[in-house]
């Protein structure tokens, strides 16, 4: 009896498996287009650039037609909501990042998608760390001197960000909480004017993202003190990491990941995971990412799920403790 049951279960499992793989074998069907939804306007920043490099790779490796569908708005919520309610047939994917996936659940009182429940994780793609940069006229030449200076001058130093709850804002909140310093938040709606004001000494520091400031650091217009990542950035190899300077928990980066609507067949997800990992080990792709100041990540689907859970908890705490809320 038990044997028959096992056998039945086995046949059922095999049938299911073959069903799944049959779907995955057909996928991607010729003549159908895979749409990668990017919840940001076209050409906007590193996220869109990485998405386009990845879309190009998926197209070449699967011999399929892949297009990037830009759906910007509301910190990525517009695009993520569209992706969450898209058919789970492998032809709609979501390329999103830390802000929309790990921060927005804490930031917004109500979201029309749940990053951990509305999507199937495919793979982590890349990550871009925050970097502490200060105006050249600031007397502090090192991280230790800076923390010391900030402690002696509470609420005198102003940092720019790209808005309440943005990566640059939260990195600063994390920094203040862990170093017991008080800095004043000055929000901007785009990084360009904040950077201009940083060079012009209207604001004194920023927790910029590496690709947005590497050129100004190299050109000597601002001073970089520390990178909020485990490893040094190839874009700025001379800048030490927070860990090297004795602050191993001051980590902050914007990571990018590929996901699919909930219920997309596992075989398709596996196939896409393999493609992402293959692409990330391609020297050409590595070169392109390095040029953008991004480090390739990759890994299994489970690793993305774990990373998402961990990051959601971490930033949720920062958001709650700093009492940031968006209606």
């Amino acid at each position: 009896m038990r044997q028959t049951l096992t056998a039945a279960a086995l046949t059922a499992a095999m049938a299911l498996g073959s069903f799944g793989s049959a779907q995955a074998e057909d996928w991607p069907a010729s003549g159908k287009t895979i749409q990668v939804i990017v919840p940001a306007p076209g050409g906007a920043g590193t996220g869109d650039s990485i998405a386009r490099v990845l879309a190009d790779q998926i197209a070449n490796r699967l011999k399929a037609s892949v297009v990037v569908d830009n759906r910007g708005g509301a910190n990525g919520n517009v695009g993520a909501t569209i992706a969450a309610s898209s058919p789970a047939d492998g032809y709609k994917l979501l390329f999103s990042w830390a802000g929309t996936l790990a921060v927005n659940p804490a930031l917004y009182k109500k979201l029309s998608f749940d990053p951990q429940k509305s999507f199937e994780p495919i793979a982590l793609v890349a990550d871009v760390p925050n970097i502490l940069v200060v105006n050249n006229e600031l007397p502090a030449k090192s991280l230790a001197e800076f923390i010391d200076y900030a402690k002696k001058n509470p609420e005198k130093l102003h940092f720019g960000s790209t808005g309440s709850g943005s990566s640059m804002h939260l990195a600063a909140e994390l920094f203040m909480a862990q170093t017991s310093t008080k800095l004043v938040h000055v929000p901007y709606n785009a990084p360009a004017m904040a950077t201009t004001n940083l060079i012009g000494n209207d604001i004194q520091l920023m927790f910029q993202l590496v690709p947005g400031i590497a050129g100004q650091v190299k050109g000597g217009k601002v001073r970089a003190l520390a990178l909020m990542s485990d490893a040094r950035s190839p874009a700025l190899p001379d800048v030490p990491t927070m860990a090297e300077l004795g602050q191993p928990t001051l980590l902050s980066s914007t990571w990018f990941a590929l996901l699919a609507p909930k219920g997309t067949p596992a075989a398709i997800l596996d196939k896409l995971n393999a493609v992402v990992n293959e692409s990330l080990s391609d020297p050409e792709v590595k070169k392109k990412l390095a040029a953008m100041g991004a480090a390739p990540l990759g890994g299994t689907r489970q690793q993305l799920a774990d990373h998402l859970a961990k990051e959601t908890a971490k930033w949720g705490k920062v958001v709650r403790e700093a009492n940031i809320q968006i209606q």
């Binding site: 050409g43 708005g73 201009t196 209207d202 968006i326």
Partner: protein, 499 residues
């Protein structure tokens, strides 16, 4: 002579066969998308970005730059012919340009726009060549207080823009400010007037408002009375400018170029602001001031020169500091990064052939544009003679496509339709939409700068008066206000006396 050496490096890059070709492709594409309403350089460059992956960095930047300044040339065409600003910077051109077209002087208006743009483009390129680094320093002097005062000056100038009654203009500015409030507040993250829809969380796009109020409003008004319209376009006279007319526009073109070159350097919509500023200034200093809004050729010459000079000089912060002054420049920076070039102050020294190559290509591009645009005038003018019941559905379709291309959102199309109706109502009430649009652009920037400045000063408004640039601009704003109000007050007093 260092400068000759630089230009030699530049032209040795820009004047190769393939780069000349990419420059030409860029300006032709730019002209085309400029002519098509709503479809702007941002959407086009974003779409073309992947195509440039295969090109050399210099070729791709030369082409993308060509699209950008080419669009400034093309944008004026529909503004003049059908009162439909193809680009935000050509809104002001529509004010007098369309009136000129109604009087059968469309050809002259288009020629003025092309010649003004050419002159301004050439001069601004010369400025970039000679003074890029010192000019970039100006942008650094503009902190939040300076921006706030600049916006105050801009708002006062917006009242000067209107040719109708003063209370109407003030009311329209206020409506513009209110529309500008829609969206997420940067400081607190609170959504304002978004009615719970995510699509409004980032506010209303300027192009949606401009195309609705100007373009669609005009179409509705024309349909109301088609016969008068077909009468008006039949009598197209002379395409080229007379010597007297060229002499008449010389000074406005020079002033427009100067304003555009300076404002273009500032991050945050310099080119757009410069066309408004140039028009407002011209209206105050011109001997022909009474004709502004009724088809004054100076009202086309000044803003067209200003927006082209501004487009050109907005390259300065991008090329010298790696800071984008508008979304198009942000895309160009993206293109450089993809090619492994780190935009920043080092580009000039590490990649001189790229830096000077792009600048040299602007000289060529402006030349191509004038050669391309002058003969096209004859073609465009004939386009207006197409019967309106064929023309307007085509315009509507292009508007729809253009607006959808902004952010792939259908809500934008509905909004444009709603603003079309509103524009028609404004027309009936004799309220001019230009001051509203300026309020719409300046309001959010003014509010953010105000709050940023007060964050920096810990709530002390003295920051606006102690910083010299800011104080100077506030004084100018007060003076401008007095100039505007004085005639109105005198008139009131005269009326009072006669009674």
């Amino acid at each position: 002579m260092e400068i000759i050496e630089h230009l030699q490096i530049g032209f040795s890059t820009a004047a190769t066969f393939s780069n000349v070709l990419y420059c030409l492709v860029g300006v032709v594409l730019g002209t085309a998308i400029g002519v098509l309403p709503g479809l702007g350089p941002v959407a086009t460059i974003a779409m073309l970005l992947p195509v440039t992956f295969g090109l050399s960095p210099a070729s791709s930047l030369i082409m993308l730059a060509g699209i950008f300044y080419g669009a400034q040339y093309g944008g004026s065409t529909t503004a003049i012919l059908v009162n439909l600003p193809g680009e935000s910077s050509s809104v002001v051109t529509a004010l007098d340009g369309y009136q000129m077209a109604k009087q059968g002087r469309a050809g002259k208006a288009l020629a003025t726009a092309a010649l003004g743009s050419f002159f301004a483009g050439t001069v601004a390129t010369l400025l970039i060549t000679l003074f890029s680094p010192p000019l970039a320093e100006i942008a650094l002097k503009f902190g939040p207080p300076e921006y706030f005062s600049l916006m105050v000056l801009g708002l006062v100038a917006s009242i000067v823009l209107a040719s109708g009654p003063l209370p109407h203009a003030l009311g329209m500015v206020v409506i513009g400010l209110l529309l500008g409030i829609v969206g997420t507040d940067v400081n607190s993250g609170t959504e304002r007037f978004s009615f719970g829809t995510m699509q409004l969380a980032d506010g209303i796009n300027f192009v949606v408002v401009a195309m609705g109020v100007f373009g669609l409003g005009e179409i509705i008004a024309n349909l109301e009375n088609e016969t008068t319209r077909s009468l008006m376009v039949k009598k197209v006279t002379g395409l080229m400018l007379s010597w007297a007319e060229i002499k008449g526009i010389a000074a406005p073109v020079l002033r427009g170029t100067a304003i555009g070159s300076v404002l273009g350097i500032l991050p945050g919509g310099g080119a757009m602001l410069s066309s408004f500023a140039a028009y407002a200034l011209e209206k105050k200093v011109s001997k022909n001031a009474a004709n502004f809004g009724k088809g004054a050729i100076e009202g086309v010459a000044a803003p067209e020169s200003a927006n082209n000079a501004g487009a050109q000089s907005s390259f300065i912060p991008m090329l010298t500091l790696g800071i984008p002054s508008n979304p198009v420049m942000a895309l160009m920076i993206g293109a450089m990064i993809i090619h492994g070039i780190q935009p920043g102050p080092t580009v000039m020294t590490e990649q001189p052939e790229l830096f000077w190559g792009v600048i040299a290509s602007m000289w060529m591009g402006n030349l191509f544009l004038i050669i391309l645009n002058l003969p096209l005038i004859g073609v465009w003018v004939r386009m207006v003679q197409v019967p309106y019941h064929y023309l307007f559905p085509a315009i509507l379709v292009f508007c729809g496509i253009g607006v959808f291309s902004l952010s792939n959102a259908t809500l934008d199309i509905y909004l444009m339709a709603a603003f079309g109706l509103i524009g028609y109502v404004f027309r009936k009430l004799e309220c001019e939409p230009a001051p509203m649009l300026l309020g719409f652009i300046l309001g959010p920037m003014m509010e953010e700068s105000l709050r940023r400045a007060l964050l920096l000063s810990k709530g002390d408004p003295g920051i606006f008066f102690t910083r010299p640039i800011s104080a100077t601009m506030l004084i100018l704003a007060v003076l401008a206000m007095v100039i505007v109000l004085l005639p109105a007050l005198q008139k009131k007093r005269q009326e009072a006396f006669t009674e």
